[in-house]
């Protein structure tokens, strides 16, 4: 039972990371109908920037905040420069451009920082926290906390600020929003910026666990895809919940199902994606897509 609780909590911690990355994917998908394959690499790149800042002697949380700012501007710039020219292009074009972005970020990170794994500091104490008979990793709890804070602030931003409202309007009905005086193009760019920021948080929270290297987000991205698919690509809340569910499932399956263990982890994510897409393509909380013929 103790092991079970431990595994659930540590599943929630990784699930929070999957959930935030899934949320970043969903934010971009809702605003621009693009599934951003480069989301993981953007997060990885931000984490490397954070590593540089921390190594330059900045305190962790200052570096953290600075990285978020850089990630936001970076995401904004990527939308303006790379994505905007192909905004109305066929799906294939957009997928290819995103893949192009993925390999550029991946290789530039490898070029600048080399492919050797680097340790990344955690801001939380190493000593596990004991509640009753159960021990929890401090980083797990901290990461979960940070993720929840980010998600909550995003919720408040979209729900209670004018800018948030404008962004939701731009995503829902670009033409009418433009007629109301909302600068739709810029709203989409801000959406990319915010997605990059959320991704950066996920990257910095997962890096102490998986170590920093240019390919570190590959496995996490596929789990984020699984989370977004499970929750529904049209539902931000669903994506986060999907992430938590997937994180817990991953941990429990890894612990209790002998033949899967850790060796087939990615295959579990593949199975989740395929099953959801076949059984309920809109996900648990998404709307079914409707097309005008």
């Amino acid at each position: 039972m103790d092991i079970f609780v431990q595994q659930v909590v540590s599943g929630l911690a990784t699930g929070g990371i999957y959930g935030s990355l899934a949320l970043a994917l969903v934010m971009i998908y809702q605003a621009t109908d693009v599934v951003n394959y480069a989301q993981g690499e953007m997060a990885m790149f931000s984490t490397y920037l954070a590593w540089t800042l921390i190594n330059a002697g900045l305190p962790y949380w200052v570096a953290f905040a600075a990285t978020l700012a850089i990630a936001f501007v970076g995401g904004l710039a990527i939308e303006r420069v790379v994505i905007r020219p192909v905004e109305n292009a066929p799906v294939l074009t957009i997928v290819i451009v995103c893949i192009g972005l993925l390999v550029i970020l991946n290789s530039v990170a490898g070029w600048v920082y080399s492919y050797i794994q680097k340790p990344f500091p955690s801001p939380f104490p190493e000593k596990p926290i004991r509640i009753g008979n159960v021990f929890f990793g401090a980083h797990d709890l901290g990461a979960l906390g940070v993720t929840l804070v980010v998600l909550l602030s995003l919720y408040v931003f979209f729900r209670y600020t004018t800018l948030g409202l404008a962004m939701r309007a731009a995503a829902q009905n670009p033409v009418s929003s433009r007629l109301c005086g909302i600068r739709v193009g810029w709203m989409l760019a801000v959406g990319w910026g915010l997605a990059a920021l959320v991704g950066a948080v996920a990257g910095m929270m997962v890096a102490p666990v998986v170590f920093l290297d240019p390919n570190m987000m590959g496995g996490i991205l596929i789990y984020a895809f699984a989370s977004a698919t499970l929750g529904g690509f049209t539902s931000p809340g669903g994506a986060v919940l999907g992430g938590l569910i997937v994180g817990v499932i991953e941990n429990l399956v890894g612990t209790y199902v002998r033949f899967i263990g850790t060796e087939l982890k990615l295959t579990v994510a593949l199975a989740v994606i395929l099953v959801v897409l076949i059984v309920k393509p809109s996900g648990l909380f998404g709307r079914a897509a409707v097309h005008r013929v």
Partner: protein, 323 residues
């Protein structure tokens, strides 16, 4: 000379050059060209699916792996002559691709890309898991086949001709498939699935069959690569292999048969040159080419060449028309 005649002449010249190459090039260069032909087959397979049929696959490395491992396991475990393993690998991939194509029917563009991307990421793990068959992370080592019938060719030359032969057969088959009724149905589904259905095309059947044929081509390429390299290991079939194929068809030319050859030349030789700059440089170049081609030359090298050749033919024919 008419456009079609010109094209036929170019193809013939290319085949003649390809037949002379083994007697002038070093074995190492020859091996590189063998690899080009193998890539060309795989790219043609992916192009049939993605370029002609409009189903986006980011996971064709998986079918390449299935083909390679089929051949490797048959040779290693059951001592089957390699010549027999290649069609078996193709058939197996046809079935696997057809089966994967059935759930893919329900997935539109982005979702299919997603599912295949996940497949590409997961395949090395799956290969390592079935260690008893695949030899785990160690992979399987094979030996290079010799030339049969007392031919005075060294193994590299022989493999070169085998691959060239398979390539030519498969290209002719694809050209015939795509230029006739079936091909028009495949393209119609890409351009407007609803209209295609209304015209009496069985979308579901054609889409899953296209998936199967595409996987079979890529599987044959994988099988040939296992024979040519004489080694298979799970980590060579990672997600970047699938992305390499995507790079190949984009650069070569989407929905173009000759584009597969240009794409294969690109993905074989450009990384070799770029490797000298940095280990990461090939991929940086791939990325930049992917994006700039999408902006500037969405029809790839083949499409741009066709444009130029078409203009030349019109000029030399003297019949200038106002386009």
């Amino acid at each position: 000379m008419s456009g079609a005649g010109l094209r036929r002449a170019v193809v013939l010249a290319a085949v003649v050059v390809a037949c002379v190459l083994p007697f002038v090039l070093s074995n190492f260069r020859l091996f590189q060209f063998t690899q080009v032909f193998i890539y060309a087959i795989a790219l043609l397979g992916l192009n049939i699916l993605t370029g002609f049929n409009g189903q986006i696959s980011l996971g064709h490395g998986a079918f390449y792996a299935v083909g390679a491992y089929t051949t490797a396991i048959m040779i290693d475990k059951w001592n089957v002559p390699y010549g027999w393993t290649i069609p078996v690998a193709g058939l197996l991939c046809l079935v696997v691709g057809f089966l994967f194509g059935i759930p893919a029917l329900r997935l539109e563009g982005l979702y299919l890309a997603l599912a295949t991307f996940a497949l590409a990421l997961a395949i090395p793990q799956i290969l390592k898991y079935f260690e008893h068959w695949t030899g785990g992370s160690q992979g399987i080592v094979l030996s290079k086949p010799r030339a049969p019938f007392g031919l005075t060719l060294n193994p590299d030359q022989w493999l070169y001709f085998v691959t060239l032969g398979v390539l030519l057969v498969l290209f002719v088959l694809a050209a015939n498939l795509l230029s006739r009724r079936t091909g028009r149905a495949i393209v119609a589904i890409r351009d407007n699935p609803i209209a295609a259905q209304a015209m009496g095309v069985n979308n579901a059947l054609y889409k899953s069959l296209t998936f199967g044929v595409s996987a079979a081509y890529t599987g044959v390429a994988g099988a040939l690569s296992a024979v040519a390299i004489a080694f298979v290991a799970p980590d060579t079939f990672n997600v970047f292999l699938s992305i390499t194929f995507l790079v190949g068809i984009v650069i070569g030319g989407l929905a173009s048969i000759s584009g597969a050859v240009f794409g294969a030349l690109f993905i074989q030789f450009v990384p070799n040159w770029a490797q000298d700059i940095s280990k990461a440089a090939p991929w940086a170049i791939y990325g930049i080419f992917l994006i700039t081609f999408m902006y500037a030359m969405p029809r790839g090298i083949a499409g741009s060449l066709r444009l130029v050749l078409g203009r030349l033919a019109r000029l030399s024919g003297g019949t200038r028309r106002v386009a």
